[in-house]
Symmetry: C2
Subunit: 500 residues, 2 copies
């Protein structure tokens, strides 16, 4: 084998191993770390981030990359490894170590300020930190470079190649369809109370049921875990060590279940890479927007469907006979699919969810572009919520301070949630075309074929294609809102027996 490529491979595996160490620290911080451990942990994170930056700056990496640049004697996958390592390296060295360190330190402090300020609605404490973080990201964007506008540089961190102009059009078109659909659905469903409300579901039983679902999905529990944390997340330390979390609420049965299905979808992606590429970009996810398509597909197309619950609802009733014995499948499906404009993004239904994202995109591009200052965010937020969803919060903790993202400068991140929603529907369509028995498989609780299809079509190509190219290859067209809108109309049409 080409000696330079070999040394590149070693470099990649070493970097992967270090990133994996960062992953352990970060997972532990959210799940296991005692209250006072934060300061020491921040130091360890900072030290490891310096190590990674130094690695990327080593001249021998650049030498190996240049020696492999022609691709001569390399397979197609090996060329992907070279191309993607070059991409990672160039992005890393474009940001000077001092700026990278300043960002790392500032976002860590800013996140703590946010966590303290949010419950107190203390905008005066939070806004200056938000301004500082935004200004650091602007400097970062200038270092990274961009195609059309500085915000493109941030998008590229999460969705390689995505452009602001493209997302703006996609989101506006989507909003134009969703707002009237929302109106029709609100009329159709009326004001009946949910038969799940006001009931209590012991957490110990919920845990058993969540584990049962996770196993049925095909998540390998010898190569991963399910724990609990305040905010559910997935941390893929290694394809053979993937950590998921969920959160249980005694009064909200579905909260943990949908989190488990969601994170399980992320987890199956992280476990789905080809072993011979472990430690290289050929065994890494394409982008956040593709990652989110995997979680949403399991959560929504599978986990909120009549087919899925035809199989699992009887055993859920069996576990909670007092609470669910009198609730039939139809009433249950209406309850878990209820559409309701609300204040909190992570609790939103499938129809209103993307309207939350539209607002965040509008506001964060304005913030980043300097047209909006943090001091103006509360008013702009409330006005946008009223316009898009018809509701507005009384307090910033339920408004622009609800999510962690802005406090740690994750600008450009929110739009990937919508990309994920659209791609989930689009991929599920393609899966149905490829596997005519898919729906009946789901009705019988059998997910092996779906998982194998996702492995083959999405997971095993690693970072070979960007998000849109992958979608085109697998579904025949680039990312599009049409399958998602079609899915919503078909589903809600059937649920309420109306034409949409």
């Amino acid at each position: 084998m080409n000696k330079s490529y070999q040394s590149l491979l070693e470099f990649s595996r070493d970097l992967y191993a270090l990133r994996s160490a960062v992953g352990v620290l970060s997972w532990d911080q959210e799940t296991m770390m005692p209250a006072k451990g934060g300061e020491g942990r921040a130091r360890s994170m900072a030290s490891l981030s310096r190590v990674m930056h130094q690695r990327f700056s080593e001249p021998r990496l650049l030498e190996a990359l240049e020696a492999c640049a022609s691709g001569e004697g390399l397979s197609e996958e090996e060329r992907v490894v070279v191309r993607e390592m070059r991409r990672d390296r160039d992005k890393a060295v474009k940001v000077p170590e001092a700026l990278a360190a300043e960002i790392a330190e500032t976002v860590s402090l800013s996140q703590r300020v946010w966590a303290e300020a949010r419950p107190k609605n203390d905008t005066a404490a939070f806004n200056p930190w938000l301004a500082k973080v935004v200004s650091l990201r602007r400097r970062e964007a200038e270092c990274l470079g961009y195609a059309e506008t500085p915000y493109d540089a941030l998008l590229d961190n999460y969705e390689p190649g995505a452009r602001t102009s493209y997302l703006r059009k996609l989101l506006n078109d989507l909003k134009a369809e969703l707002v009237p659909l929302l109106g029709k659905l609100m009329d159709a469903q009326g004001k009946a109370a949910s038969p799940l409300d006001g009931k209590s579901f012991p957490v110990a039983d919920q845990r058993l049921f969540n584990m049962k679902i996770l196993k049925a999905m095909g998540f390998d529990l010898e190569a991963g875990r399910l724990d609990e944390s305040a905010h559910p997340f997935t941390e893929g330390l290694h394809p053979e060590d993937v950590r998921l979390t969920t959160r249980y609420s005694e009064t909200d049965l579905m909260s943990a279940l949908f989190s488990t299905l969601h994170e399980g979808g992320h987890g199956i992606y992280e476990q789905g890479f080809q072993p011979r590429w472990f430690g290289t970009p050929m065994a890494e996810a394409v982008s956040l927007g593709v990652h989110e398509s995997q979680s949403r597909l399991w959560e929504n197309q599978v986990g909120r469907s009549r087919d899925f619950w035809s199989c699992y609802y009887p055993s859920l009733q069996g576990m909670f006979p007092k609470q669910l014995g009198e609730v039939d499948l139809g009433a249950f499906l209406k309850a878990i699919n209820r559409v309701q404009p609300s204040l909190i993004r992570v609790e939103a239904d499938e129809v209103t969810y993307n309207l939350h994202i539209v607002l965040r995109f509008e506001l964060e591009t304005a913030l980043f572009g300097g047209e909006l200052e943090p001091a103006g965010l509360e008013a702009a937020w409330n006005e946008g919520m009223r316009r898009n969803l018809g509701v507005a919060p009384e307090k910033p903790s339920m408004g622009y301070m609800q999510d962690v993202h802005w406090s740690c400068g994750l600008l450009g991140y929110f739009p990937t949630y919508t990309l994920g929603n659209l791609r989930a529907a689009q991929l599920f369509d393609a899966a149905q075309r490829a596997m005519p028995s898919l729906k009946s498989d789901i009705r019988s609780g059998s997910f092996g074929a779906l998982k194998a299809w996702l492995n083959a079509e999405v997971h095993q190509s690693g970072r070979c294609y960007d998000g849109d190219t992958l979608m085109e290859k697998v579904t025949g067209s680039k990312t599009s809102a049409a399958p998602f809108l079609g899915y919503l109309k078909e589903k809600y049409g059937a649920l309420y027996g109306i034409g949409l």
Copy 2:
């Protein structure tokens, strides 16, 4: 502040932060990591070990150390930081990176071979790996250098400054006292069965009682955790994040309790450093032999005493009324202090424990010196056990393959257990002299003064003194077997009403 010293301090904190990351990975491996995670974890560990080695080899570290070598303008503690960092750096750079990496890889593989070979008593699989590990340690010792004999170099890794000749005499003298004492005690206690045998203690209740004891000791659970693992251990990630483990057995009530007291003692040491020195050698333990004195003092001098159980036995009986209601305090104390030559070190009582260590020391020095080959270990072990303890195993899994240490090349480690036992008794003596109310405090379940005394006398000086100097400073004499032997004779004399 002196600029070179300032840069040294930053270096030290960075190294500490990286070591702390290694600690998280290692704790996670034993407590949380799923079955298939081992290979990826080994890679992360290896990558971090290379990072540490590279850090120690950086010329700017040596420059800063030399600029501070005169100690000019530095406080006494700052000079300790310089001295101990110099020690760590010199030891690290003496071992070439390639040898260090070969050792890291080999011990990781060898430990896995041992774990598989032990239950099968597969000496043929294990012995070649043991030979390989021993030979690598010989090469390491030659790189490190030594005062009198190569084994000194290994001892120095765990007990700085300790010599083989010194330990040989200490252990032989101890054996000469222990063997006849053991004989007398065996006669005195007779063959009565333990009133704890054959009973079952639900693990959920045990967990509550263990947490109660750990809190009472003063272990700060906001700066640490107690989990479960196959082999109990303590991992001090940071003085504000100390991880302990214990292990529960439904049929053995005392196993978890003594492990919790033991690891709690280690944990109180790790939490006991002065905040302003965090991240420097002034906030690190002296040696394994001092560390073990802290765990043993809480486990034995406190946790196996009549005073302790005068306070806690009623609540233990209250938790397990069916099992312990008919067992009075005297019978309980005899049961938990029963002397019995046995095959497994970690289950040994206070009298026979050190005889296990004597044998390991004799065998590992012979192995390391080349007078004994792995193939001869089984016979030598069995003969030594018969000579020292009067019992011998039928299978190597209960004999020379019982402990993990040799599989991962921890030669020079075992003697620190005996140093810990001796120092625990010696320190407890000194504590009693300093605090006349100590025993009555323990009888009332109040450990604050003992913890504060250990903090001030032992923990807060960090690596200021070596083990013997610290003992002399705190107790008035270097490490000695006399207080330990006095403690055993007084305790067992009282327990059986005999003169010893």
